[in-house]
Symmetry: C2
Subunit: 147 residues, 2 copies
C-alpha cells in the first residue's frame, strides 16, 4: 500500500477497488464497498467505506461484533435495535453487539459512511419470522424495514 | 454510548470530549483530540479525530503500530518515512510500522483527520540526534520538520 491514496471525485480513492457490498446476498439494494484499510493493513480492525445509492438499503442483520460508523456523505436513516435515527455527515453511530440494524439512503441522496469492524469477527445473522414480527410491531419500524 | 452522536459545527460531536492532543509533550503545537470510538467501544481498535490549527504540527515520532489516517477537513502536509505529501479531504494515509511521521496544517487552514490505531499498541519514540541528522539531510524535509 502506498503511503497516500488520493481522494477522487465520486468518493473513490486511488488504489482502492470498488466492490459490491456483499457478493452473495439478495437482501440489500444498491450498496457498494471500498476497503480503505483491510486485513493487509497491519491493524486489528478494518475500515471500509460503504455507499448506498438513493433509495437503497443494507441487509437487516445482527452479530456479536460492534459496528463503528461515521457518516461521510448524503443523508439517510438507520435502525439500531428498536430505534430509528436520521443521520447526516459526520454523525457517529455505534451498533452494539447482537443488535438488529439496517441503513437506508434517502430517496433523493446517497448515504456514504465509514464502518470500522474488528478484523476477527463473527458472521452476520438474518432475522427469522419471530424476529421480524417483533421488529414490525412498531408501525414506523415496519414501514422502514426492507428484507 | 448512545447509538448516535450528532455532528456539530466546528467539528465537534455530542458526547465526545475535546481534549489536548497529548497531555505531557511539548513537541507539538495547536493540536486537539476527540476520541470517537475509544477503549470502551468494544473494538480491537480506536478511532480518534485530531485537528491541527493553522500553522500547527503533531509530534515527530515513530512506533511499531500502524497509523491509518483519513483526512476530513482543511489542508496540510505529511511526512511518512522519507517522503512528504500534500493532503486534502478525504485522502487516505498509511504510516507503516517504525516509520518517522509528522503532520502539519497549512498556514491558512486547519488539518482535521481520523486516525485509527490498535487498542493495544506500543508507545511512540522520538528521534535522537542521529535520526534528526538523517531526516534533515534533505533540504525539503529539513524545512518541514518541527521538533
Amino acid at each position: 500500500m502506498k503511503p497516500v491514496s488520493r481522494f477522487r471525485p465520486g468518493f473513490r480513492w486511488d488504489d482502492v477497488a470498488l466492490e459490491p457490498y456483499k457478493p452473495e446476498d439478495a437482501h440489500y439494494r444498491d450498496v457498494s464497498r471500498q476497503v480503505l484499510f483491510g486485513a493487509d493493513a497491519g491493524l486489528a480492525a478494518e475500515l471500509r467505506y460503504f455507499e448506498i445509492a438513493p433509495g437503497g438499503w443494507t441487509t437487516l442483520e445482527r452479530h456479536a461484533h460492534v459496528h463503528a460508523v461515521l457518516v461521510l456523505r448524503g443523508a439517510g436513516r438507520v435502525l439500531v435495535g428498536e430505534a430509528l435515527f436520521d443521520v447526516a455527515p459526520f454523525d457517529r453511530v455505534r451498533v452494539p453487539p447482537r443488535t438488529w440494524h439496517q441503513l437506508r439512503a434517502a430517496d433523493d441522496a446517497p448515504l456514504g459512511f465509514l464502518c470500522l469492524v474488528d478484523a476477527l469477527r463473527d458472521r452476520p445473522e438474518r432475522p427469522g419470522p419471530d424476529d421480524l414480527a417483533a421488529l414490525r410491531a412498531d408501525p414506523e419500524r415496519a414501514a422502514f424495514l426492507r428484507v
